[in-house]
Each structure stands twice: as structure tokens, then as C-alpha cells.
């Protein structure tokens, strides 16, 4: 029997303005809300609403046999509340069906696990509260930002009481294992690890519309055959992807919605197959072996490691400087300051500073609201400098009479 477990990631960062040096000390408005609003509404129209409708329809027409999971970041939810409340309504309807699970993650989609466990726990807590408040549900399965994972993280999450955790089924950690079973992390006793089947996931997420792919066009029949062939070789097929795949990365005219409407029916035509949520998978199936993942893995880029966000000195510099002022920011007690600081922890800001393969115009460039990684670094650091100025004024309303000249001494981190 094969259980298909689909989880969709929903996230939008609060993108920064092209904040110039001259604004330091004068302008405490960091986020490009004009652009953020525009993008939020656009993606709602092209992806979130139509996709939610398809999913709701699938649940209804399969009498609840179709199930899936979402992980929606706190910053995305905030933006929906402000600019696209119909998206929240639409997710609420999905929650009400009882066939949809919500996962737990950091509210701000941050790398805080790597820099401040205290902040990490706070952000998880904030997110849990938000999900409960909006959808009436409490998550039991956790996914870290960009599926960044290792043994220690698994233990940490187990200690927080979660029964399951998600990671990328990267080749270099699988060894002889297949991602189609559950495993127990080396450091843990109870928590179960679900690994993404990257081949089948990326067939939809990346290759679906690629006419140069030798399997194009991907029909529901073909895809169902591939999933069926896992029978006997696996228990769960974990299809994890960005929700924007549906309608944004893969545009409507590629036929992605038709595919989505169709293949779940094909899957459950086979009586041995079904769709399950992550929690159901964890309750039903046993862990087949332990798995030792010492170095961090992720689902980003070819390397599937941390290099997308922490691959160069600029990225290290920016994130270190941010967490250097964490204590002062929290101690200030200034709500706005703390909220602004937290919005800067979002991993996307560091993603934009990546210079890997910049010359080959890769996927980082596509998502980058700036002209270059250097410009994103400049905006970030200028903003950070302004935060420091605000703190010097003890978080009160700040009027600077003279232009600040000496600001952050960039530490050369190695």
C-alpha cells in the first residue's frame, strides 16, 4: 500500500526597501509595503485562491479521501490579513473539512535555530498561537525554515513535544535508504522523520512545464504509474513543495491545475492507495531504522545545504550583526522595534545576498527584488544601522539633528 503525503509551503517575506545611507537616522520605515502588497495580491490571485479551490473541490469530490498539509508562515498570514483576507477565509474552509493539517514552523521563517535558540522557541510559540487563533488547530509535526535539519535539531524538536519532523530526502544522507519510509533520528527516541521524495516532488515543482524534459508532458496517468510502482518498495510517498508551484512557478497555462484536479482521483482508484496527512502517516507507520544526519541539510539549491543563505562573507556579516543586537532590541521593550528586528530574521533577506552562480542568472536572481546581491546587502545593513540609532535613543521617537557618520564596524567573520 502506498500513502501519498502532500505538504505545501506558504510564505511571503516582508521585503525591504532600497534603503539608502541617507535615510539612516531619518527614516524608520524599512519595508517596501507597496511592493509587498502588490506581490501578495498577485500571488493570491494566481495561486492561493485557485489552488485552494481545487484542493477543496478534491476533498469534496473524493468524500474526504484526499488529504494534505500546509505550513503557512506567520509573516505570510499577516500579509493576507492586511491585503488578501479572502485567502485566510479560503484556508479556514479547508481547515473545517478536517482533511487538512497545519504544520509548525518559526513565525518569521527565520534561521534563528542556528543563532538563538531562545528566539527560535519564541517564534515557534508565536506561530502555534497564530495557527490556533485562525484555524482552531494545534500542530504536532514540525518543519524548520527551508527544511534545514540535523540530528540536534530533531532532538530539540522532540523535546518540545512534537511527534514528527520533516526534512529533505537528499541523496548524500540517504545512503541505502529510501525516502518512502519513516525513520528515527539518531539522537531521538520517539519523534519520526519524514523525508521528501525529491524526484517525484520536483517532477511537479520544477520539471512540469519543461518541454525539454524527456517525460514531458506529465500526465496524471503517467505520474500515478510512478507512484503505484512504489508499492512494495515504500509506505509513504512524500510530495513536499512550495505552494506557489501551482499557478506561479508553473503557470496556469501549463495545465498544472488540470493535473492537480486529476491525479488524486487516479491514485485512489487503486484500492491500495490513499492520501494521508503527516500526523496520520506517523501514527500509522513505524520507523524502519535510525538515521544519522550530522551536518545540516536543506531543500535549497543543488547542494541541499546552508550555502544559499550562509555561503559568503556578506551573509555571515549581516546575520551576525543582526543577532549581535538581539539582546538590546529585546531589552528595549519597544514593540515596534522588536517586530522590525524579527522581520529582519526572515531567511529571504540572506538568500538575496547569495553570490553563488550569480553570473549564471539562476533561481536566486529570479526571486530577488534587488538588482544584485550587493544591493540587498547594502539595504539590509543600512536598515540595521538605523535600528542601532533607534536604540541609542532608547527606542523613543528619534529626531536626529546631525547626520551619523560612524556606524557599524563590520566585523570580519571567518
Amino acid at each position: 500500500m502506498v500513502s501519498v503525503c502532500m505538504y505545501f509551503q506558504v510564505h511571503q517575506p516582508f521585503r525591504l526597501k532600497k534603503y539608502s545611507v541617507f535615510e539612516i537616522g531619518n527614516n524608520h520605515d524599512y519595508f517596501d509595503d507597496v511592493k509587498n502588497k502588490e506581490i501578495c495580491k498577485k500571488v493570491a490571485r494566481k495561486c492561493y485562491i485557485p489552488s485552494n479551490n481545487v484542493i477543496l473541490d478534491l476533498i469534496n469530490t473524493t468524500n474526504g479521501k484526499f488529504k494534505c498539509a500546509y505550513s503557512i508562515t506567520g509573516v505570510a498570514l499577516e500579509q493576507f490579513e492586511r491585503w488578501a483576507p479572502e485567502v485566510i477565509e479560503s484556508f479556514k474552509k479547508l481547515a473545517e473539512t478536517g482533511c487538512v493539517e497545519f504544520l509548525s514552523e518559526t513565525y518569521y521563517h527565520s534561521l534563528s535555530y542556528l543563532y538563538s535558540k531562545v528566539e527560535f522557541v519564541k517564534q515557534i510559540d508565536m506561530h502555534k498561537k497564530k495557527i490556533k487563533e485562525l484555524f482552531g488547530l494545534t500542530p504536532t509535526v514540525f518543519r524548520n525554515t527551508e527544511l534545514i535539519y540535523n540530528n540536534e535539531l530533531a532532538k530539540f524538536i522532540e523535546d518540545l513535544g512534537y511527534k514528527g519532523i520533516i526534512a529533505e530526502g537528499a541523496d548524500h544522507i540517504l545512503g541505502w535508504r529510501s525516502p518512502n519510509f519513516l525513520y528515527t533520528p539518531t539522537t531521538c527516541k520517539k519523534i519520526k522523520l519524514m523525508l521528501k521524495n525529491y524526484k517525484l516532488s520536483d517532477d511537479i515543482a520544477f520539471r512540469f512545464s519543461n518541454k525539454g524534459w524527456n517525460e514531458w508532458p506529465l500526465t496524471a496517468e503517467k505520474y500515478t504509474d510512478w507512484i503505484n510502482s512504489v508499492n512494495g518498495n515504500g509506505e509513504t510517498v512524500n510530495l513536499f513543495m512550495d505552494y506557489e508551484t501551482l499557478g506561479e512557478h508553473q503557470w496556469e497555462d501549463t495545465g498544472i491545475f488540470e493535473f492537480l484536479k486529476c491525479f488524486p482521483h487516479r491514485i485512489i482508484e487503486h484500492p491500495d492507495n490513499d492520501f494521508i496527512t503527516p500526523t496520520e502517516a506517523i501514527d500509522r507507520y513505524t520507523s524502519k531504522s535510525e538515521i544519522d544526519i550530522h551536518n545540516f541539510i536543506s531543500w535549497a539549491d543543488i547542494e541541499r545545504d546552508l550555502s544559499a543563505w550562509l555561503g559568503n562573507e556578506m551573509q555571515h556579516n549581516a546575520i551576525n550583526e543582526l543577532y549581535n543586537i538581539e539582546k538590546s532590541v529585546m531589552d528595549s521593550g519597544n514593540k515596534k522595534l522588536i517586530e522590525d528586528w524579527r522581520k529582519l530574521t526572515t531567511s529571504d533577506h540572506y538568500y538575496y545576498m547569495c553570490t553563488k552562480w550569480f553570473a549564471d542568472g539562476d533561481v536566486h536572481k529570479y526571486f530577488n527584488p534587488y538588482d544584485s546581491p550587493y544591493e540587498s546587502f547594502i539595504a539590509f545593513m543600512n536598515i540595521l544601522n538605523d535600528m542601532i540609532v533607534r536604540m541609542k535613543c532608547k527606542g523613543q521617537e528619534c529626531i536626529i539633528s546631525e547626520k551619523p557618520s560612524a556606524t557599524i564596524k563590520s566585523s570580519n567573520t571567518k
Binding site: F22, N312, E313, M314, N317, S372, Y374, F377, I378
Partner: protein, 410 residues
Amino acid sequence: MKILMLGWEFPPFNSGGLGTACEGLTKGLCANDINVTFVLPKATPGDAPKHLKLIVANNVYLDSDKLKFMEVNSLLVPYISSDEYNERIKSKACLKEGDMSARADDIYGNNLYEEVYRYSEKLKLIAAFEDFDVIHAHDWMTYPAAIKAKAASKKPLVVHIHATEFDRTGGNVNQYIYDIEREGFHAADKIIAVSNFTKNKVVTQYGIDPDKVEVVHNGVEFTNYCDTEHIKKDNDKIVLFLGRITLQKGPEYFIYAAKRVLEIEPNVKFIVAWSGDMEGFMIKEAARLGIGNKVLFTGFLRGADIDRAYKMADLYVMPSVSEPFGITPLEAMRNGTPCLISNNSGVSEVVNHCLRVDFWDIDQMSSKILACLKYDTMHKELTNNALREVSRFNWNEPAKKCIEVYKSVL
């Protein structure tokens, strides 16, 4: 394949990027087994014998078995304006006061336009007895000569455009030069532009079919090992402008940005290297803005001094109003200095690891200058990545592309 190449200048006797580009291209072509005969205007010092009208080129020499230079006696120099030409011919006339055997204006044209005509007549003769397959002409001064050479030899013509009259004048074109450029574009079998930026100008301003224009970005030649060690003089940061101080290069934006930067960060020096018709204006502007002691003018630089200028700088700024390509950022990058480049340039089409700005946006320009001087990590990233990136620029690729263009017209 043999190419008759018409140029204006050649290093070390060059005053701008055109000579450097020609040198690189010819070397690239020769390395790809192409024979080049390079014809240059060069004013012969001293006497000009009457029999010159029979001898077309008085200096022919071989650089290698593939490259041959021919110098045609002419007062034409690159970028020369009509006024400057008149100055030149007057000074030539004075030198010959005592020598009644030849007056300069017997030999050279009385003004720039006559000289261009006279030069083109010479080329007609060269075309008649030289052996070649394709004519390749660089920029407007050679176009009349190239057209005559094509007619005389019946060989195909490729014209290369490094800078148009629009780039040089910001729209206030000299009708005579514009007409020559237009005639050259229409007479050519194929046109090579140094960037998409330039190709667009050719298509929109001269009425040329885009299919006729090929884009071949310039390369850059680094023959010597370059020591990128930064030369530090004192605690001041240094921001460099290096280029002809003329309208096209946007020097005034550099000065205005300097003023803004100095308001925030006084420990910066701005160096303006090279000279040009706007130099006097720049010096006065700097003084007027009260930053005269922070803006230093070096005058014309050559050879090793140029490298030294790049090495001393913490940032190189190219605020060009209209730069068809722009080799200087590549030279800066190669010397371990990061660049801030105008969006209105051909080179910004091919370089990734640099900062970019609209030349008129003084706020952004000064903000980025400040950021580059302040954030050491970014400065280091830019420098290292730029150094890596520039090492893949060479003249082999452009030469190969030119060869494809030659093949397409044969």
C-alpha cells in the same frame, strides 16, 4: 583570411579606449590565424616631401607574420573636434616657417572635413594594391575611406561602431559626422556594435535593420601578471574617476556625488584622472562646492600610472552618460578595485559583480559610494568576485565572433 583594418590609433600612442580595443581585437584575430593589415593616420614629424602624393604610406612595418601596420600621413587624431583640428594645422604651419619646400596645409586638409576626405582618397589607393578579403573599419573617421576602399576593391565591408555621435554629444549631433556615420552603416555589409546599448542607438537613430547589426562585446587584455595589492597612502579612502573629462563620461555627476559623500564622510579623497575639454569646468565646480581640497586632478595618465591609480582606489566610479562599452571598469576590477557603473553603458551588460546606478541619480550614487567604503565585507566580496569574473574576459571570444561576421559577408 586577410583583413584590411582601418583604425585611428594604436597603443602606446592612443588617447582613449578605441586604440586599446583595436589592439586587443587584432591580437585576438592574429591568434586565430587571421592576417591583418592595420592602417592608421599618423602625422609625420618634420618634413613632408612633395613626392608624398605618390607614396601613400611612408611607414610600413611588420609586427609579426600576421600583423602589418601602414601609417598614412595625416593630421587626423581620434576624438578631434573641428576647432582642435584647426589648432593642429596652424601649429604645423608655424613649425615650417623656415622651410619653404612644404607648407603643412599643402599636404593636409584645411579643416577636419577636408582631411577626412583626403585620408579617404589615400585609402582608395591602398585598397587598389593591397591584398585582402574583408574591410573592417572602426568608427566614423574611417568610414569615408572604407566606403572608397570597398568601391575600389569590390570587397565586402564590415563597419565597427565603438561610439556614435549621440554618445559623444548627448543628442546635439554634428550633422556632418552623423551623415558620415549613417552613410557608413548603410554602405556596410554588416555592422558590429560593442554592446546592445549601442546596437539600439544604431537601429533607432540611424534607421538600420537590427538583423544587420551584430553585438560583439569588447574583451580586455591582461598581458602581465597584475599585482592587486592595494596601495595605501594614508587613512583616507579614495574614490576614482578615470576617463576623458568630457560630457559623455558624466564627470559633473562624479563631483556632485563627491559633495554628498563628503557631507557624511569627510575622510574620502576623490581623484579625477585624465584630462579633457571639461577639466577646467570640473576644477571650478569642485572649488565652488567647497570641496576643492578633496578633489584631486591628475592630468593624463599612461601605462603603469593607470594601474597604479586603480590600485590606490577603494572604488572606481564610471558615471557615464552614454558609454557604448567601457573598458575601464574591467581594468579596475583586474587591479582589485570594485566598480560602480552607470546603467547607460555596454559593459554593465556583461559584468555581474559590480554596483550599478543611473548616472543622474546623485542620491543613489553617493549612497552606494558610502556603502562601498563603509561595509568592508561587501567591499571584499565585490573585489574578489570581480577579480574572478574579469579573468574570463579575453579577446579570443570577440575575435571569434568577428570572424563569424567576416564569414557571413564573404
